[in-house]
Symmetry: C2
Subunit: 324 residues, 2 copies
Amino acid sequence: MITLIDIEAAAERLQGIAVATPLISSRPLDDLAGGKVLIKPECLQLTGSFKIRGAYNLMSRLTAEQAARGVVAWSSGNHAQGVAAAGSLLGIRTAIVMPEDSPVVKIERTRALGGETILYDRYTGDREAIARAIAAERGSELVPSYDHADIIAGQGTVGLELSRQAQEQGLALDQVLICCGGGGLSSGSAIAIKALFPDCDVYAVEPTDFDDTARSLQAGERVFNLASARSICDALQASTPGRMTFEINRKLLRGGLSVTDAEVGAAMRFAFSNLKLVVEPGGAVALAAALASKVDLRGKTTAVVLSGGNVDRALFSEIMRAEV
Amino acid sequence: MITLIDIEAAAERLQGIAVATPLISSRPLDDLAGGKVLIKPECLQLTGSFKIRGAYNLMSRLTAEQAARGVVAWSSGNHAQGVAAAGSLLGIRTAIVMPEDSPVVKIERTRALGGETILYDRYTGDREAIARAIAAERGSELVPSYDHADIIAGQGTVGLELSRQAQEQGLALDQVLICCGGGGLSSGSAIAIKALFPDCDVYAVEPTDFDDTARSLQAGERVFNLASARSICDALQASTPGRMTFEINRKLLRGGLSVTDAEVGAAMRFAFSNLKLVVEPGGAVALAAALASKVDLRGKTTAVVLSGGNVDRALFSEIMRAEV
């Protein structure tokens, strides 16, 4: 079982490594919400997303012998950069299996951080099988993107940090909205948030066609998305919740929310105009849920995690030009 | 004479009003620089630029009688929003004379904050004369955009804050790059920076054709820009340095640097890709100077102020699409 103690230990390992991103307010957002909304901009994190937290937490705990044989991961791009950056900080060789249609910026950045990239077809290939084969051949450790206690504890430092920052501002959190792919960020954060604010409602937010966590929470068991599902949110395309993350989320989450691509675009434009932050589609789903009133914000204190900002300039410009 | 004490007093007035923007690092930037670069993102400030600091500092010191008669200001947009926001916080009626070609977002935001906007032609009208006429008619106080002790002290809190944040990070500042229009931000910040780091070199950064401060520093007296000067940086188009600000800057600044529109665009793209921050053209000149190696960054600790992020989506998209 992962507890607050594991997350506090992860936070200590990340001290001086990960950025303690601020918890910021926006008057236009508070006015719109009719309540207090706190933004946790993990797009300002090292590598442009929260993923360095879990990757570094896991990789810093490898034995010298394990570290010497390198690590292998699979990722649509943000975990890839987190693993590559952690490898560069820890002196561990990294190889990452990535979909060939990942945003160019994510592939380039992973390489720039020293990661070896292996590309595959998102809709026909099996990234996990490819990664496992490479790991077996090299004797490397796998660094899963969510279903591992050290990853969950590392990502949970986002929830711990934002809870403590809210306390420092004298605010009690009524609800927290967190994006959800495989569930590492939401489950880890939920552990910390519920430890500090037991009455707080934590929601996982997903793209409409990738709402496996929302449906799994309702069904009481892990269900899958259709293979035909598509979304602008390249970072949130897990096919089903993780085993470990779902066990945590089913106990701690209030529920799941989902947002359309159009709502995501509107949230990205809101972040541009009002927060002056670059948020990628997958990083904007929680804000999209808030702006589209998927939960009641009136008179409440709501924290919203912006999980990443790694988006190609061309796509960003296209979304910025769309009519409101 | 404006001293550190005035700036500390301004910082106290702004406590709980202005955002204490973080002082952030970026590994890609440090790597490029071969030194330590610290970013002060005032684009994350209330109203999207540092201008609320000076406006609030001045307006909070008006007598009840003065406050009751309202204030008048002139501004290309960021000071306008700062004045309007301060008015809304303090319950003071505000009227702002703005160029008719100001970014739409700046005009709209000023109105949304309750400011009355009076538009004029930037190249043929005299904004100061228009503002003075309105002020005389209404008995209103003027809120100058830079040449006033309370404005300079208020903007100086940027320099004070970043100096203290550097100290907290255990870093001594070797140099600071600050954008410069009329000189309020650079002069106020220089007072604070030089008080805390006497050996630090402070530079004013301007657009190529609006390098009046750089040339004035060289000439030893205030010189003017050509009326034909044009720049993508709408926020930095003062025709000559302020009297008060120049008196301070001639004593405290190491010198002036200038950057082209192309260098500004490159800096905005760098901020997008690496910092995940939306920076407006005028807010990006100091970063542009750093990226274009206008000063030597190697082995030094350099702070760079990103002064604002109020840019229209259309212009931003155009700049994002430009080839590197």
